[in-house]
Amino acid sequence: MSQSDTSTLKTADGISLKLSLQRSLRRKKRNALLLVAPLFLFILITFIIPIAYMLVRSVDNQIFAEILPTTAPLLAKWDPLSGNTPDEEVFKAFITDGKVAAQAKTINRLGKRLNYEKSGISSLFRKTGRNLRKLEPEKLTTSYKEALIKIDKKWGQVDTWEILHRESGKYTKSYFLSAVDMKYDANGMQWKDDDSRIYLNLFKRTLWLSFLITFLTVLLGYPIAYLLATLKTSTSNLLIILVLLPFWTSLLVRTSSWIALLQKEGVINDFLFAIGLITDEGRLAMIHNQTGTVIAMTHILLPFMILPLFSVMKTINPSYVRAARSMGATSFTAFRRVYFPNTIAGIGAGGILVFILSIGYYITPALVGGTQGTLISNFIAYHISGSLNWGLAAALGTILLLLVVALYILYDKIVGIDNMKLG
């Protein structure tokens, strides 16, 4: 039907059909949006905003201006390269702000925050706060500067003020610097000393182990997916249960079973000892190290590789391979030249999925990883509940998130997120 035709057609109530169709389409679109809106809002509030908030926390440094409100702008004007301590007005502002903060008991919060920049500031602030509480600025006989230096001579050092100056803004880079093993010193940004570097190696280890696990899942998953895709439907329906059962079994269940299997006094070691392959002293250390993490995570993530691979292989027409065979290719050549290339998309899909899942894994490495098999997420958890350095936890989380988003975009390019399937 051409357009001119539709424009002349009228519906029963005399509106042109085209208009009526448009209206109904618009209504449908509006209804569709209305259906999606509640979930969209829900996800926005319960999920997206929290993540955005984490991003903010990774650079947030409002604490300085909150606790030392008049000092912050004055200090910002000071030039640390001048080689002199700040002017008297900065000292005055610091004492005034500091006294208020000391009475409100908030000054040590800033001390703890700045202790991340340099060890010792925490006790400097504690000592200063204690003295400021007693100090009466009106009755000072000396300058503010001298009064503060009298409390602790560190206040007469440019270094101390330089740190305060650097961290007086509303935002800070310092958490991100720490997260990539860097720090500030007199010459600007620097790598940390060798004996304090953690995170870059940890990111490297996380990526390497994730890659290894992904590779192992391909290696183990491919034959199974191939078998399932080429078997009779009734048989494969039965066998796929063996893949789905681990998929549906609790992560903690699977992790505890690996502990039972792998530990020194565990099933595998006991068995090897019983058949005389190892001595009692020679029991294998398969857990609380990288081996433990890799074995347990490969097992846990294997179904995530098999299922997408299987669904790709299902769509490959067996006549392709038969054609290649009939034209004289050996079964290996037929597989390599015809079948395998068709499954690369499935490997890509499953691979990225497994990779994304493993770089963010927390529970299994925490339980079976020991010191060498822990991943970046274990450190995020440590900074949340152990060291309480929440800014650093947020910065590490942000970097991890960026990695995942990059992989996610890649996944979308390869498979398309709307094609994601489950079980």
Binding site: T106, S123, D194, T371
Partner: protein, 365 residues
């Protein structure tokens, strides 16, 4: 229809959670769980609730994340805890941040039976104006009696001597304590440890000493693990809290022995969160729960020493086993010959930096 059901169910949950808190004061006390909470319940909570039937004490076992969760509660502006059991480091930090209430110990707490003021009776244990000490415990070394031959280890040097005592040792995955021990085993006197550790060379020296046993160490993170590792025979020696070793040796009759040399003294006690919902009740409770008799009573259930000097004489027999508890107290003079008191101020400043170095050291293979 579905929304209706949802709404009514949500209301039902809310109603259910509200209706439980009525008629009586419900005081939420946060502690470490397990045997420790049990000893507090027996020695403090139960007698107190008997005397005050309108008060109900609810245990919350999240002391391990106490500082983190308390900070989160403060950020939200709603404190739901009345009393939190913490180690002194956290007490100092929480006090510094204004998250715990400063108290006057002499005014709030009961004097000793002979009238000694609490500030004198607790003495050095009052590490922070927010901290109300309960017990002294120590981290010390336990070993498998069947795997050390006829010469059981007697000094901290033996932990670092892998020739004399081959096999794995379990240490806490934490720089605190290990660095001090490494220096002591390297010849630094107990009283100089923190001075040496305050210098860069001292830190290097400690790590160098730890290097010598690094490949033989299994790291533990939770208090129950060293006992388990010893029982399973995974290690020949393990650092552990003395109470855990007591239960392995005396209660569970494992082939485990312990040495008291270089035991690292630590305290444990209460803080009151700023904004605690039942402050008056908490004050009343604390006066009772930290008096001389109550602190001594706790030692009936767990082998930790009371933080009050006046309680020492009252320490009696184990409530179930009937054995004399005094010889198992870390504070007993026989046991406390060579001890190390953890320097809280040192660790308040250096914890982040040294924890980072420690993690970096661990990661290096």
């Amino acid at each position: 229809m579905k929304t209706f059901i949802q709404c009514s169910l949500a209301t039902a949950i809310l109603a259910a959670s509200v209706s439980t808190a009525q008629a009586e004061t419900e005081m939420v006390v946060v502690s470490w769980g397990g045997a420790y909470t049990k000893s507090q319940t027996k020695a403090y909570h139960e007698p107190y609730m008997k005397m005050n039937p309108d008060v109900k004490i609810v245990n919350d076992d999240s002391a391990a994340e106490g500082a983190s969760k308390l900070r989160a509660q403060a950020e939200a502006g709603k404190i739901s805890w009345d009393l939190v059991d913490v180690v002194p480091d956290d007490a100092v930090a929480l006090c510094d941040e204004g998250l715990a209430i400063e108290i006057d110990h002499d005014k709030l707490l009961a004097p000793a039976p002979d009238g000694t003021l609490p500030s004198v009776d607790f003495g050095d244990a009052l590490v922070s104006p927010c901290f109300i000490p309960q017990i002294v415990y120590s981290t010390t070394i336990g070993f498998r009696t069947d795997k050390v031959g006829s010469t059981p280890p007697t000094s901290i040097n033996d932990v670092f001597d892998t020739k004399k005592y081959p096999g794995k040792r379990a240490l806490q995955k934490n720089p605190v304590g290990n660095l001090e021990w490494a220096l002591m085993a390297d010849g630094v006197a107990g009283k100089d440890v923190y001075e040496v550790l305050g210098t860069d060379e001292g830190v290097k020296r400690a790590f160098k000493k730890l290097d010598t046993i690094k490949k033989d160490v299994v790291w533990w993170t939770k208090g129950a693990q060293p006992g388990q590792l010893l029982a399973d025979g995974e290690v020949v020696m393990a650092s552990a809290y003395n109470g855990r070793l007591f239960s392995a040796i005396v209660e569970n009759k494992q082939p485990v022995g312990m040495m008291w040399d270089a035991q690292l003294f630590e305290l444990d006690g209460w803080i009151i969160p700023k904004g605690a919902p039942h402050l008056e009740e908490v004050y009343k409770y604390l006066k009772f729960a930290t008096d001389t008799q109550r602190l001594a009573d706790q030692a009936k259930y767990i082998s930790y020493g009371p933080a009050r000097k006046s309680s020492a004489a009252l320490v009696g027999k184990h409530a179930e086993l009937g054995i004399d508890m005094a010889p198992h107290m870390p504070t007993n003079p026989v046991n406390a010959k060579n001890t190390l008191f953890k320097d809280i101020n040192f660790w308040a400043d250096r914890k982040e930096e040294l924890a980072e170095k420690f993690e970096a050291w661990l990661a290096k293979s």
